[in-house]
């Protein structure tokens, strides 16, 4: 298991290159097998992962540009482990859900495999330039997926997605380069290694500007209000598989960036900016939930609700305590699974009826009972019903946030109510009442392919909702280590006070 992380990163890419040779008719089978192997590898990583060790494991380091301190450096800890597994799982299920008559199936499979490489790479990279490399590279296959298989204005949506994120990440790049320079000033050597950067003492002024530079890259990706405008376009036009991966994995890159870069490297600035981020996140949570309620298009409802939940994740990240941060990491996973499943479900009905407008449906529960059940489970998970996966993360985040701000918690908690309002409205309009269109009477229920893709997600939703411990424990260990690191690293007393972590709990 020495090079398992490199294998995890590059196996899909190599398979993608070889995929060009595979016959058109077998492309999907090829994609499923490769993604399955990748998932097994990721699960193997979990099996050999030492859950008591909060630090980086399986690290590999190969200098690439030694003069300039850039090296290929990867590692995994409790924070990134499950996101990687989730990325592999969602890719596999997404490929399974692809219809056999998808045009240019081979190109789709190859793009997805390359996308998988960049996703896994982002979460495993420990070198800022390697991180940036995968981060930017992930835009290219996504651009192609949205642009080639999307709706009528797909090109506009794809280009907007690319340019918006690209512009933000170039500002982030300036921040990364400035970090490396500051490291060089203090230590005399160049390094882009994150673990080196964690030891760097920066003045509050430097931290302030660096935080803003990182914020530009991460906030657009999350996407935080008011930088979220690219996302509804992208979701509106993207094919099902594009939306699934975008919502489930790509958005997590932004929040993961905050956890991996902003918090531990810039603790003082993170605390300084907390009120600002909290305000933006609360606006994002409430505002996008209201926008979601006003949508007529089922996919847009899910898209806006997904942005709203990203706001909760952001609140948890900046709560600066083990509950909030750990909860938000868990929420990243549950959001990935639930929003991924919801986008798959919208895709299923869109394939059958050719429309996503809720008013066109009605009474689907009678026509497609299994579909309605799966949809119902995911919907409950999305609004955070206890004993579903959505509850655990949301509860922990709100608990963590309660220690910071009671009023804020009440506002954020209100989204559970607004969330249930729009989700139940969606469910009522689409699934209950009379069947509005004659042709909808003949709709077929979920077939084997769709069940194969969706049932594992339903199982996970229930399993981790009832018994989240196997996942929560490693996350908790790493999160506490991160907070202790932040506290030791912080220079202002006020920062140390804001970071609530009881050292006794950490072994």
């Amino acid at each position: 298991m020495d090079h398992i992380l490199s294998i995890l990163i590059f196996f899909p890419a190599v398979a993608g290159i070889l995929g060009f040779v595979v016959d058109k008719g077998s492309a999907k089978a090829y994609g499923v097998s490769v993604a399955a192997v990748e998932l097994i590898l990721a699960l193997g990583l979990w099996a050999s992962f030492d859950i008591t060790n909060p630090g980086m494991q399986f690290t590999e380091l190969i200098p690439i540009i030694s003069q300039f301190g850039i090296s290929y450096n990867v590692g995994v800890d409790g924070i990134s482990l499950f996101i990687v597994i989730m990325a592999a799982l969602i890719t596999l299920l997404g490929i399974i859900l692809l219809r056999d008559d998808t045009k240019n199936m081979k190109n789709m499979i190859v793009s997805l495999l390359f996308l998988e490489m960049t996703m896994v790479g982002v979460f495993l990279a420990l070198d800022a330039i390697i991180f940036y490399l995968f981060w930017e590279l992930s835009l290219v296959p996504m651009l192609y997926i949205i642009g080639a298989w999307g709706g009528p204005t797909r090109v506009y949506a794809a280009v907007k997605f690319f340019l918006y994120t690209f512009a933000g990440s170039l500002v982030m790049l300036v921040g990364l380069l400035a970090m490396a320079y500051l490291f060089h000033l203090q230590s005399g050597v160049w390094s882009f290694n994150l673990l080196d950067w964690y030891t760097l003492k920066l003045t509050t002024d430097q931290q302030f500007w660096l935080f803003l530079a990182f914020f530009a890259g991460f906030a657009i990706k999350v996407p935080m209000f008011p930088f979220h405008t690219w996302l509804p376009h992208a979701h509106g036009q993207a094919p099902t598989i594009g939306s699934v991966i975008l919502a489930a994995v790509l958005l997590k890159m932004g929040t993961y960036g905050f956890v991996r870069f902003s918090l531990p490297i810039l603790p003082d600035a993170s605390v300084t900016f907390t009120p600002f981020i909290m305000a933006l996140s609360l606006i994002m949570v409430v505002y996008t939930a209201m926008v979601a309620f006003a949508q007529k298009d089922m996919k847009q409802v899910i898209a806006y609700s997904s942005v709203s939940h990203m706001g909760i994740i952001m609140i948890g990240v900046f709560a600066m305590n083990a509950e909030g941060l750990g909860g938000s990491i868990f929420l990243m996973l549950s959001h990935g699974i639930v929003s991924g499943a919801l986008f798959m479900l919208v895709g299923v009905i869109y394939e059958r009826t050719g429309t996503k407008i809720m008013d066109e449906f009605g009474g689907l529960a009678a026509v497609m009972p299994v579909y309605a059940t799966v949809f119902g489970v995911m919907l409950m998970a999305s609004v955070g019903l206890p004993l579903t996966i959505g509850f655990v993360g949301e509860f922990l985040v709100l608990l963590g946030f309660y220690k910071v701000s009671v009023v804020g918690t009440i506002i954020a908690g209100s989204t559970i109510i607004i969330g249930s309002v729009y989700m139940l409205a969606l469910f009522k309009k689409s699934f209950f009442g009379p069947v509005r269109h004659e042709k909808n009477l003949g709709l077929k229920d979920l077939d084997r392919r769709e069940l194969t893709a969706l049932l594992p997600l339903v199982a996970i939703v229930v399993w981790l909702g009832v018994y989240p411990k196997p996942v929560l424990e490693p996350i908790d260990n790493s999160v506490k280590a991160l907070l202790v690191q932040m506290e030791n690293h912080a220079q202002l007393e006020s920062t140390k006070e804001a970071i609530i972590v009881s050292k006794k709990e950490v072994k």
Partner: protein, 503 residues
């Protein structure tokens, strides 16, 4: 009055410093002689001969002793690290360019031996230009190269190539005028034409009243001259028309080699001024650089023709690199060569792809040779071609891990090191603007359906094996850059340390 007799030994003359240029000039004469002896020889002979001469030239260049004070030929030649490095870059770019002449279709300019002779003379000119710190020799090199280049453009023998050649000639003549006037002022205040003597002379007279006026005139005129040559805003207007008129590979060549030569001379001249603590020179260069990259980017956004887009984009890239001259640090100077070394392959590849898809007649548009529509749905007609062109576009846009990204990162990092964070952010945002027009081509190639006129029969025929080889090499260098950037930086830095910047 007699001039004092001087004892000059062969050792002092150090004639070997002239070897590389003499090889190129001699090679050009050989090609002309062969044509005299036997007419109508196939162009492939000339192409191969030119490559051989260039390789020998490269060998001679690499074999030279170099160092910060390695002088030769009455001390007008200066063989320092910069001279060697830039000659290597120029020669490699030329070796890459020349096989593009072997197209499967006949484009008559390549059937003339004069084309190849002029090409070699041009290279000799560039070599003189970069390996001297004597203003007169620089000027001679510049003019030799430019006059040959004007003719090469005109040999494309189409209506707009004559226009391009004349336009380039006129602008070039103007720039030459500015250059001589600027040099004259420097001579007037320092009594020397050698940069290493000018620098201390200026330094000792810095405090004198009126000195700033002379410096303003001298540096200002020289800056104008090089702004013309480097096509910096607002002296860039000739570039898109000239690129459009020249054949596609030659345009790609022009976007790299003459600029490298001009950058080398700019480094020698302006970094001297900056080292002398004349701050407004630095400010002027930064302003020019920012305006160039931003405005050229905005112009590129609205172009309807891919070749013109690439022309504006290479102007913008030049603006990006110009920042490094203003910084005048070792890292920035390394960045210039790293950037152009990587940019060279990608850009030459992109222009070569235009050459591959060239039509004999204008199919799509009465005005343009390469409108975006021509590339519509290219992935369906020519999948590999579209993928290759897409890679070049991503690389030019600065998407990692493709080659130009490393140049960008290195230059931006050098800018940050020098304390110009705001400038680095402008550079970053410009890359984001630039991404739009590169993406536009990708969108046309991958996400649109082919237009009716474009089918397998009507287009994309201009492929030959040598061309494919060059393209393959360009792709390889563009994609695999992550593996060789480290030794490249090391080599360039070492060369930069062996360079004499006049102080």
């Amino acid at each position: 009055m007699f001039i004092d007799p001087k004892n000059i030994t062969m050792d002092v003359l150090n004639l070997t410093t002239l070897m590389p240029m003499l090889i190129a000039i001699g090679g050009g004469l050989v090609i002309l002689t062969i044509d005299l002896i036997k007419e109508n020889i196939h162009k492939s002979l000339y192409v191969m001969l030119t490559i051989l001469i260039l390789v020998i030239d490269l060998g001679a260049t690499l074999g030279l002793n170099f160092g910060p004070n390695e002088k030769g030929f009455f001390d007008v030649m200066l063989i320092d690290g910069l001279a060697i490095l830039s000659q290597v870059l120029i020669l490699v770019a030329s070796v890459l360019f020349i096989p593009l002449a072997l197209t499967s279709k006949r484009f008559h300019e390549y059937s003339y031996p004069e084309f190849f002779a002029l090409f070699l003379f041009m290279i000799a000119g560039f070599q003189f230009m970069v390996s001297s710190d004597n203003l007169i020799l620089i000027f001679i090199g510049l003019e030799t190269a430019s006059l040959s280049l004007y003719t090469l453009i005109a040999m494309h023998n189409r209506h707009n190539s004559f226009e391009a050649a004349v336009k380039y000639f006129t602008m070039g003549a103007l720039a030459a005028g500015f250059f001589t006037m600027g040099s004259a002022i420097l001579y007037g205040i320092s009594g020397s034409l050698e940069l290493y003597q000018i620098a201390p002379a200026i330094q000792s007279r810095m405090g004198e009243p009126g000195m700033m006026m002379f410096l303003l005139g001298g540096a200002g005129l020289l800056l104008t001259a090089f702004a013309f040559k480097l096509s910096l805003f607002p002296f860039h207007t000739w570039a898109p028309d000239v690129y459009e008129g020249a054949s596609a590979p030659l345009a790609g060549y022009m976007s790299v080699v003459p600029k490298v030569a001009a950058f080398v001379v700019s480094m020698r001249i302006f970094e001297m001024f900056i080292e002398l603590q004349i701050e407004w020179v630095q400010t002027m260069i930064i302003i020019l650089a920012v305006l160039t990259m931003t405005l050229a980017n905005l112009m590129a956004l609205v172009q309807e023709d891919v070749k013109r887009m690439l022309a504006y984009s290479s102007i913008s890239h030049a603006g990006f690199v110009m920042v490094a001259i203003a910084l005048a640090t070792e890292k920035a100077n390394t960045g210039i060569f790293l950037y152009y070394g990587l940019f060279m392959f990608t850009n030459l590849g992109a222009f070569a792809m235009l050459w591959v898809s060239r039509h004999k007649h204008r199919v799509h548009h009465a005005r343009y040779d390469h409108p975006y529509e021509k590339f519509s749905g290219m992935v369906k007609i020519m999948p590999m071609g579209a993928v290759v062109m897409g890679l070049f576009m991503l690389s030019l846009a600065g998407v990692p891990p493709f080659s130009v990204f490393w140049g960008k990162v290195y230059l931006m990092s050098a800018t940050i090191d020098a304390g110009y964070i705001w400038l680095a952010i402008i550079m970053g945002l410009n890359s984001a603007i630039a991404a739009y027009y590169y993406l536009k081509l990708i969108v046309y190639m991958f996400l649109r359906e082919p237009t009716e006129q474009v089918t397998k029969e009507t287009t994309y025929y201009n492929v030959s094996k040598p061309l494919l080889t060059i393209l393959g090499l360009a792709v390889f260098v563009t994609v695999g850059s992550i593996f060789y950037v480290d030794p490249l930086i090391e080599y360039i830095t070492e060369m930069m340390r062996a360079t004499n910047f006049g102080i």
